[in-house]
Amino acid sequence: MGFSWPTCFDRILRSIRVLIEAVLVTALQFAAVLLAPLDAPLASAEETIAPAAAEIQFLKEFCFQCHAGDEPQAEISLEILAQADSPQKNRSLWTRVQNVVARGEMPPADEPQPSASEAESFIESVRRTREASDRNAKPDPGRVTMRRLNRAEYRNTIRDLVGIDFDPTEDFPSDDIGYGFDNIGDVLTLAPVLMERYLDAAEKIMSRAILPEPPPVPKRHLDAQYTEPASGEVASKWIENGFRRLESDTTDPLGLGPLHTPYKWEADGAYTFRTRLYGVAPEGQEVHVAILLHGPGLSDPSPESELATVAGNILRPARLLKTVVIRGRTPESTDEIEVSIPPAVDRQRVLVGLVRPSEGQGPVKIYVRHMALEGPLDTRPPSQRVLLAVTPGTTTEQQTREVLARFLRRAYRRPVEEGELQRLIALASRAQGAGEKWEGSIQLAMQAALCSPKFLFRVETDEQPENPAARLVDPLQLASRLSYFLWSSMPDDQLLDLAAQGKLHERLDEQVLRMLADPRSDALVENFAFQWLQIKRLESFVPDAQRFPQFDPPLRAAMLRETELFFASILREDRSVLDLLRADYTFLNQRLAQHYGIPSSEGQPITGEEFRRVSLAGNSLRGGLLTQASILAVTSNPTRTSPVKRGRWVLEQILGAPPPPPPPNVPELSEEPDAVTAASLRERMEIHRRNPACASCHTKMDAIGFALENYDAVGAYREQDGEFAIDARGEFPDGTTFTGAAELRQILLGREEDFLRALTEKLLIYALGRGLEYYDRPTIDRIVSKAKIEEAKFSVLVREIVRSDPFLQRRGTPAEANQGARGAE
């Protein structure tokens, strides 16, 4: 394809990006302006970027007639923009000027108008000046507002802190979204209803994690007549007065034993086995009984030589637990044998066998009354055993301190301060004083810690909160920044330990790789990727059932799963993020394979609900995110595809150049009555674009969207839309044409830098928990250029974000500047 990017499409893309950035800047403009005097001593280091002469000329020619002098129109004077330092000092005013000129709102229609090319070169020039000025901005790590844990973070943190497996956040209200993500400090508010849920959740969590009154130990009792080996003959031949008899000199396996029975076991539980019996032997001869444990995968089986001492056919592998001498000789004087059974993998049966009499001794018999098993002996949940583990031999006070200090360090994600520990101990002591058991008092104390802002928020305390100078965050705060970025959860002990030793900064790269390799980094897929790609909305997407009868919840789930597995493969295999667009493989199950018309993979039919990796042939209709049904569906309307939404999605999520909102009072798709019935969607949209107010943005959104028209509103491939043949041709304003998804993909891959930048921006927003500002531009530039050097591997993007100033540093907010910003509109 012969086309030249730097022409129209390119320019519009860029100018649009600038518009959007400019809007971001507006919000902070006041803070920036008010900060300026404080920065003054440092500002000299910042090279002043002046507006270009042509920009000033444009202002003079088309703006100053009204917006200058003593009484400027609308009280907006643009004269200050002509000053040399205006690109830095007057960012928001420049933005407004740029916006109104780009939209054609200014100059007003009854005033002299710039030509289209004059307006465009003005906007382009302002953009370039702005970029230069931003690149030159004084380094500023920005400031993240204290972040409340969002639902996912809360859930994961509880999982890692308490070790219980349920979702305590089910009843939480959904978190609000800012800048495309639900982990933005400013947007995460704490309404009373949520606080109420936090109290409820803490109560539920701790009541599961710690049971002050553990349930009674389960007991099983089995009368000997029901033991194995079983047969119809047992009752008549081997039962006497309710006792089951074993004999050493029979050849009948039913009488030779050993007796056994299966149990269900908890792998980590200790048990006690009991059996009651008496023995019969010639005068002066002892009766020995063996208790054995059997399971097909049992560890530590006893050697054959030991097992051979027991009469009968023993199930193997088996472990001889105990051999006991039986004193009782009558039904009235039975012995009870008690055997402890330690935790073991794959236990199944307990066996009671007769030990063969030695050479020369007479035959012996035993009479067994019953077998009984108690256990697991410790019925406390595993979480309780971990949370309440104490150093043996210490006093209750010491144990309270030990348990709560350990918990607080992890819950607050930093070393404990003595004062706060004292307070929590006092709470527990008061509860004990009021009659609560020790376990109950700890439960209450931990519940309270889970309601503290120090747990609920990612608090980054600062001894100089009003000092605007940039400085490194402390290592423990860095540990949390890392863990919540990569795991959406609390730091593990390794991170906390490294931080406490002051070694985290120097071992950052190694930790990033370790954390990405950890399964907890799945959080990046669900929390980052799903939001970046906007496919969480799929959960509420309901296409029209008449038009898309094949769509149902399993298909919806399969769509999400494909994208989830696909993104996870990029992360797990540390691929180039460009593979997100160009991969020649995907993940399918039968349902989705049918939906895609890919019945088999490498000759094997794709069947069942399980997903598998499927290679896509070079001429496949699928490949990369753009042709995944999840994305095609969330960018559609319930009844039809929306080329506009798809185009917008690509511009915004893939190219990082979201189009500006439509001007007011313009219908989304004007449909003259005759057009509705007589024209295809494409023709109707072309009619719509005749409206010049719409044309400038729609030409490129629509072009991109049309290239995906072969995929319907649920992502199925098609060549017809109703009675109209699909025309997947797209044409950019510069005349570049392309057809279909494959050619669109090539074009996007040609825009590698834009894609990397877009993804970097999204990932950086997610990592920092704040929107991006003009002063973040150098950071983004640096990350993108490093990523390009190293094949744009996913881990490189992550590592460079982690190494960046805004991630490693913080600054305070001068009190007065902040007040100013609050009052400003």
């Binding site: 803490a202 309601c451 909160p465």
Partner: protein, 449 residues
């Protein structure tokens, strides 16, 4: 004074609409709380006045909404037809404006602004996240002033969570297009969409015999966390302190609730099992939420409620009433008659749900009238026409007698540009909350009485 409640024949009602709710617990509703008997005898106004605010997104098809005649002799237009039975208890208010929702220099984002400006009369600050700001909403003014008289100061309900992802409307954080109630200018209140959770909020305490013990434990936790949080205060920057303020204010709120629960007489809880699931059918979901609102008012658990029927800009499909297209897409009808007809169908559907709520309220006898006579139910949208995205002459209804303070059964036409916040001011006045000004209000709305 004896108060009797008539059991409500809900099935009968629902059958007529081809819908059947499996909610036996609502059917055998007896009197939940004879509040009139327990109220202090000295208090002259035994029957409390309630207020609710219902919101529908994307404007309405105004040609089929606004009655042609003014005053008492108005005829119900096609969209208002379902309100026939309660027409005498209805005011149609034309000409009101939500100026805060207008674009001015902020450009696009009419949907986000429409919902967030609706009850606040304020101008939502355009931001995707940093420094979210609006005004306090009328329901929250009421909650702050009269909320201490009931177990819950207010109830915020809806059917859709905040948006699932992304920028919701042209540079406005999703919070604006999904939140109608604002506790303060910086604190949006999320709505509860799960009927089970609404029910628990309303009645759970009554169910729980160990409540006293639980409350005592909670109090000790609340005491602890407040002390624990103190140590943060001088070590946080101002934005963080604001978050901490939110925390403290929520804690305080819970403390007050526990205190009130100790003082107020117990709420009688409906005997039947509470709802468990979010109904899959939208209409059932709406009606269940409406039922819960009725219950809350009837049991006097709260007197203030906001109810967002669908988030602003919602692109929900209404295939179940033969409108498979997305609502928002349709609202940009471009003058196309077919689309306008479909919009009317959606508008009519929403008004039918309002009718259901109003009729329910009107069937419940209370003192000398019905629950509807002792309530003010406002209904409307912050957008006039979804195609034009304009915010004047909004579609607004006010139902109920407001304890004899409202002369209903009329169509009132106000001068264009009359702020809708004037209506809110007048409603506040009727729950004995006098306020100088709410957002852009210019005074009370005349002629309501």
């Amino acid at each position: 004074m004896n108060v009797s409640f008539t059991p409500i024949p809900r099935r009968t009602l629902l059958r007529g609409l081809g819908v059947s709710l499996a909610l036996p617990w609502l059917e055998a509703m007896g009197p939940f709380r004879a509040w009139a008997e327990e109220a202090p005898a000295a208090k002259p106004n035994l029957v409390p006045n309630r207020m609710a605010f219902l919101y529908v997104p994307n404007g309405v098809n105004m040609a089929d909404w606004t009655p042609g005649e003014d005053g008492q002799d108005f005829h119900l237009t096609p969209i208002l037809q379902p309100l026939e039975k309660v027409k005498s208890k209805l005011l149609v208010l034309s000409g009101l404006t939500a100026d805060g929702a207008r674009a001015y220099k902020d450009g696009g984002g009419d949907h986000a602004r429409a919902l967030s400006a609706f009850l606040t009369g304020a101008r939502p600050y355009k931001t995707d996240g940093l420094d979210i700001r609006n005004g306090i909403s009328v329901d929250q003014v009421a909650a702050a002033r009269i909320g201490d008289q009931t177990r819950l100061p207010s109830l915020e309900i809806g059917t859709e969570h905040g948006a699932m992802a992304g920028n919701c409307d042209s540079g406005y954080s999703c919070v604006y297009s999904s939140t109608m109630s604002w506790r303060s200018s910086t604190q949006p209140l999320p709505k509860e969409v799960h009927p089970k959770l609404v029910f628990e909020r309303l009645f759970a305490a009554g169910h729980d015999p160990s409540r006293g013990q639980r409350d005592a434990r909670r109090k000790s936790i609340l005491d602890f966390v407040q002390e624990d949080a103190q140590s943060l205060e001088n070590r946080l920057a101002r934005q963080d302190v604001r978050k901490l303020d939110e925390y403290f204010s929520s804690i305080r709120d819970l403390e007050l609730r526990i205190e009130r629960a100790e003082k107020l007489p117990p709420v009688a809880v409906p005997n039947d099992p509470p709802p468990t699931e979010i109904p899959a059918v939208y209409e059932e979901h709406l009606r269940l939420m409406a039922d819960l609102m009725v219950l809350a008012f009837q049991a006097d658990v709260t007197r203030v409620c906001s109810f967002v029927l669908a988030n602003e800009g919602s692109n929900k499909s209404y295939a179940f009433i033969d409108v498979p297209e997305g609502h928002h897409d349709l609202s940009h009808h471009g003058g196309d008659g077919g689309k306008q007809a479909k919009l009317r169908t959606i508008n009519l559907f929403h008004v039918r749900q309002l009718a259901y709520l109003l009729e329910r309220l009107d069937q419940i006898q209370e003192g000398d009238g019905t629950l509807l006579d002792h309530a003010m139910i406002a209904y409307g949208s912050g957008i006039h026409d979804g195609n034009a995205h304009n915010h004047e002459d909004l579609p607004i209804l006010l139902a109920g007698g407001g304890c004899g303070t409202i002369h209903s059964g009329r169509h009132l036409r106000y001068p264009r540009e009359t702020p809708i916040s004037n209506l809110w001011l007048s409603m506040l006045d009727r729950v004995e909350v006098s306020l100088e000004k709410l957002g852009d209000s210019t005074g009370a709305l005349p002629d309501l009485t």
